[in-house]
Symmetry: C2
């Protein structure tokens, strides 16, 4: 983590991926992110993957570095505590990030009546008020029909929850932009971000909408080929599989040089009447070009090819399984400053990532583990709401709040 956002406080009511990942990202930049949950944990508290004793590895990862406030959300006194937390004074407070329904005691109007400069950011499924999840959104925007082997008609779901991740990071942008605006103008914001809208906007940003509307064409299923330039997977003599890409002129010239195929490629360009200095023409002739490259790749083991790739500036990487990545790739271990082995309570000690960027003049601090649900209930009641120990004790006795179990 870094201390860039130290002092900023975000109250979070969240589940699943997008909303908690937004808060976790802000927490890894040093923000004080307080997650409130029903006593005993919310609906994603046992989400898979889980350990042998049903502790969620997923939940721990999504909530690294946050504080946890456990409260009975059905109890009006508990609801009042949350509203008071969200509306607590301070220029760096008054930010509420949620994907719980922002109704009832969480409705913007009620909260903004108490704190007019409130920033409320709500993640929803789609603009129609329907629930939507990463897989349903992806089905809607068309990627399953252009993913997977050519000639196969079946849709292929993605496994990476890309829309959740994009929504998480977009939500953090939204919140930071609104907070900046508030500091300059004093004005709060009510914002809503739909998972479906993040996907719809991205599909359009990538040119798919323009392709249909302007060119009256749409992208076909290209299997493992890159679109619009040259790129595909190849198998080496020792059965390793690598992804090779030539997008830029430099990468393309590097590939020609490394493979020694200059004459064959030139002959192909003449035969097809194409100019391979244009990346689009390399895409047009992708099959023929890959047929030339394939035997070269198959003729040598990766250990011999890799230095050639490096010397020629080829953009490539090896396909590996997640197991290989985690067990054998130093980039996914504490050999990489991104990862630090820490103890996740209830789970164990293993490498956990901090914030993704390198911030050169700030110390990179170790990532902080996820809290236990309710771990910070008492300190939050005392520090932020100013309750004394007698008042806190009463809230426990009445079952309004709970500590960690």
């Amino acid at each position: 983590m870094y201390r860039l956002l130290e002092g900023l406080r975000v109250i979070e009511g969240s589940a699943f991926i997008a909303a908690p990942m937004c808060g976790m990202t802000l927490a890894q930049f040093g923000a004080d992110v307080i997650r409130f949950d029903q006593i005993g944990g919310g609906i994603d508290y046992h989400r898979w993957p889980v350990t042998a004793d049903d502790t969620s590895i997923y939940w721990a990862e999504m909530n690294k570095g946050k504080r946890s406030f456990a409260v009975d959300l059905r109890n009006p006194a508990g609801q009042e505590l949350i509203a008071a937390l969200i509306c607590a004074p301070g220029a760096h407070a008054g930010i509420f990030s949620t994907n719980l329904p922002a109704r009832g005691f969480l409705a913007y109007d009620k909260l903004a009546a108490r704190r007019p400069d409130l920033i409320q950011h709500e993640i929803v499924g789609d603009r129609h008020g329907s629930s939507a999840l990463d897989y349903t959104v992806n089905a809607k925007v068309g990627f399953p029909y252009i993913t997977g082997p050519e000639g196969d008609e079946r849709p292929v779901n993605h496994v990476l929850p890309a829309w959740d991740i994009a929504t998480a990071y977009h939500a953090a942008i939204d919140i930071l932009a609104a907070e900046r605006h508030r500091r300059l103008t004093g004005k709060g914001q009510r914002m809503q971000l739909a998972l479906a809208d993040v996907a719809l906007a991205a599909v359009a940003h990538l040119g798919y909408v323009g392709e249909v509307k302007i060119n009256r064409t749409t992208r076909a299923r290209h299997g493992n080929y890159l679109y619009g330039a040259l790129g595909r997977d190849f198998v080496t003599a020792d059965g390793q599989r690598v992804m090779i890409i030539a997008v830029s002129a430099k990468q393309w010239q590097g590939l020609i040089k490394a493979s020694g195929l200059a004459a064959e490629v030139a002959a192909l360009a003449t035969r097809l009447n194409l100019d391979f200095d244009r990346e689009g023409d390399r895409f047009v002739a992708r099959r023929e070009l890959c047929e030339l490259i394939e035997p070269w790749m198959k003729s040598q083991p990766l250990a011999e090819l890799a230095p050639v790739f490096a010397a020629c500036g080829i953009c490539w990487d090896r396909y590996q399984t997640v197991w290989d990545l985690v067990e054998n790739d130093p980039d996914c271990s504490p050999a990489h400053p991104l990862f630090t082995a820490i103890e996740q309570p209830g789970i164990g000690r293993y490498p956990v990532p901090g914030a993704a960027p390198t911030v050169f003049s700030e110390p990179r601090l170790a990532p902080r583990p996820a809290p236990r649900v309710g771990e910070h209930t008492d300190e939050i009641l005392a520090q932020i709401l100013g309750l004394d120990s007698a008042a806190i004790g009463r809230l426990h006795d009445q079952g309004v709040v709970a500590g960690a179990r």
Copy 2:
């Protein structure tokens, strides 16, 4: 677009997706994002998809709402103009976002000598200094081996450049966090974000590293099944395909109710000794549960099922092609406030998305088109660098800068 970031200025030297999409996102929040390019356009200026006359739809989408400054990057006088732009005074300026190599005249040390509170954000391939692109990073982190039909051993590349998008949005977070810190402390930052690190961090955030390290297991290829709960694609009587998900208790109970399968599901739970109120148990029995659900889905056309889904709170969506999405789905048209039909110079008029969130108390302004390369060269030289028309004329005459063609 919105005006939330109005006044903030970002100078951008970029290509491909992550860096320009970061700037475009900030521009859609009202920031003044100035993209500098080699006269005639940079290496991605003709990237596919392109129109019949080779104008890039991709480039236009990635650069919506920016200003363009065209300059001879190899000319020392041109380099000095860019350095002067990056280091121009003002509390809201002095931000440089790039994925060009930050060397030579773009090196942090040289720029920070002129403006000590400079924020420089550089997107790189990986921490080792190698180039990396979305497809190579994805190969490295393991998703191709768990994507695609069960039983198929081939890796399946994703088509969505998810890591580029995540990196774009993460870069915007980094910049806004650093800019906030600078306003509070006066301190600038040098930041570097590797595409590979965004992917490595995300894989770990999603629990994959913990699964291997703690559970000594890794995720198998589950085809179109959701992981950890119940979800899969189904075909209806009229041949439509839908994605159905039951993650929450509410969604699961809705599915039981809609399908009328309560008795069969209860019998299955007894037979398998599972508790389907636990989402993990629904995943364990995903095949058996989907075998029960399949005939129900196949017995009715989607038009009859859809109202049942809605009434029972089922989370679902229809698989459609990109063509269908763009041509027939109102959500991808100006019927949705996210989209506005605008004229993209050199391309034509079609629906273009603005900023993804809804910001309730700010006007949603129409997205602005991409500039032509060099469109704003003269106004930038005059407004920001304070050059008079004679000086600007000389720069044109000397071939140091250019306007739009």
